[in-house]
Amino acid sequence: MAHEHKLEIFRGLWKFKSNVSKIWGVFFFLCAVTAVEVVLGIIKPEVLTGNRFLAMKWLNWIFIILTLVKAYYITWDFMHMRDEKSSLRRSVVWTAVFLICYLILILLIEGDYIYEVYKNNHVKFNF
């Protein structure tokens, strides 16, 4: 890859003349996303905290999705994943994504189950 860079982000919506300007573009995008997260985290709009989608508050969905967006741009543009071969990209990304999703699923279901046990049965809050 070394010297060729793909110089567009957002599927070609935003094109850059050089790699340096692409880096700054991604930086401003990441700052904007962080700013949105912080503002939402401080004001916590009632609409987003009061309503739920698939058992999770809308606000938390927004935070998690924005985090994944940031992770994508850090990996793709700062770590140059965009310029790597697709075989390298897939073996790194899908391995991690699959294992992490599985781990989260298992642990959160288990945590919720124990919460129910504490709540509905006579088990002391002990650890």
Binding site: I74, F78, M79, L103, L108, Y115
Partner: protein, 327 residues
């Protein structure tokens, strides 16, 4: 020579050898191996945090009530601003790192030096901020009382504002005698960290001030901690109160469940250690650039490899930030 070489019949194929099927050098491949495994380690920690949080979902501390401090702004509640600043510092140091990599591709030694320098400064600011945040968290703010069941109760005035122990606890003179060998086993030292007040002083102060209420760890249907009325508060404190807690350590945590503090120390500590080692590695590479090692080698790929690690540290922080401070 020809006779000893076994032909495999795969010569010239992608995976037949003598080729780089993934078009990445050995060093870069190994860095990706490391990053994937380290990412799984961090996911393990964060998923374990999620597990404990789901287990105590109705009694978990609210992060922006915990991290409300900004250096030099003492007593001004400013939730999130400082972590937002830390996040931006880390993202910015990622940018200077990727600019250094880019300058390295173009063999511009002086630019690489300057960008590496800014990256190191950014990393140092981040580690320093994290140390400050730990110190603030350990020192604590308002203080609280732990009950016999290990729960935390915090104090409010009737307007719903938090009240610090030092504002109402009375001073009861008491003597703290030195433990001597002749009185018992020598290793039986004081079990807990000493607090400014003991439980009796806090209780007396609470009973003397009619406008104080108690807030429990349990969240109501709006996600706010439950506030008891005066009679319930008095009953709760007198019946269940046991121990004064100031700040947080691995056993007690004035902000709520001790597991919150444990995970905070463990995950941000592990991440901070990554940042620290990243800064160290960056410094080594920085000096190598200055003395011209990569100029002579004809390739700045080493800067790219350490850059991968540095971006990974930033990537982990993005997740830590979300799951510790936002969600």
């Amino acid at each position: 020579m020809e006779a000893t070489v076994a032909k495999t019949g795969t010569e010239g194929k992608t995976w037949g050898g003598g080729n780089r099927p993934l078009n990445a050098s050995y060093g870069k491949m190994m860095m990706w191996f490391f990053i994937v495994s380290d990412a799984l380690t961090f996911s393990g920690f964060i998923a374990a945090y999620g597990f404990s949080r789901f287990k105590f979902i109705d009694a978990w501390p609210i992060a922006d009530e915990v991290f409300t401090h900004v250096p030099f702004l003492h007593g001004v509640p400013a939730p999130m601003y400082y972590v937002a600043f830390m996040t931006l510092v880390l993202i910015f140091s990622s940018v200077t790192m990727v600019l250094a990599v880019d300058a390295g591709h173009k063999m511009q030694k002086n630019k690489v030096i300057w960008y590496m320098f800014f990256t190191i400064i950014g990393g140092a600011i981040f580690v320093g901020s994290q140390a400050w945040e730990w110190a603030t968290f350990i020192k604590g703010d308002y203080g609280a009382v732990e009950t016999n069941g290990g729960k935390i109760i915090q104090f409010l005035d009737t307007e719903g504002k938090r009240v610090a122990l030092r504002d109402f606890a009375v001073h009861i003179p008491s003597e703290r005698s030195t433990h001597e060998r002749k009185n018992g086993v020598w290793y039986d030292v004081e079990p807990e960290t000493q607090t400014t007040f003991n439980f009796e002083e806090v209780k007396a102060g609470f009973l003397a001030n009619d406008n104080l209420l108690i807030r429990t760890q349990y969240l109501d249907e709006h996600g706010e901690p439950t506030v008891l009325n005066r009679e319930e508060s008095v009953a709760k404190l007198v019946k269940d109160g046991k121990l004064v807690v100031e700040g947080a350590n691995l056993k007690h945590n004035e902000y709520g469940h001790p597991l919150f503090a444990d995970f905070f120390f463990f995950i941000t500590g592990f991440h901070g250690f990554h940042v620290f080692s990243g800064v160290m590695i960056n410094i080594i590479i920085f000096f190598n650039v200055i003395i011209g090692t990569y100029e002579r080698r004809g390739s700045y790929e080493m800067v790219e490899k350490v850059g991968l690690y540095w971006h990974f540290v930033d990537l982990v922080w993005v997740f830590v930030f979300t799951f510790f401070y936002l969600v």
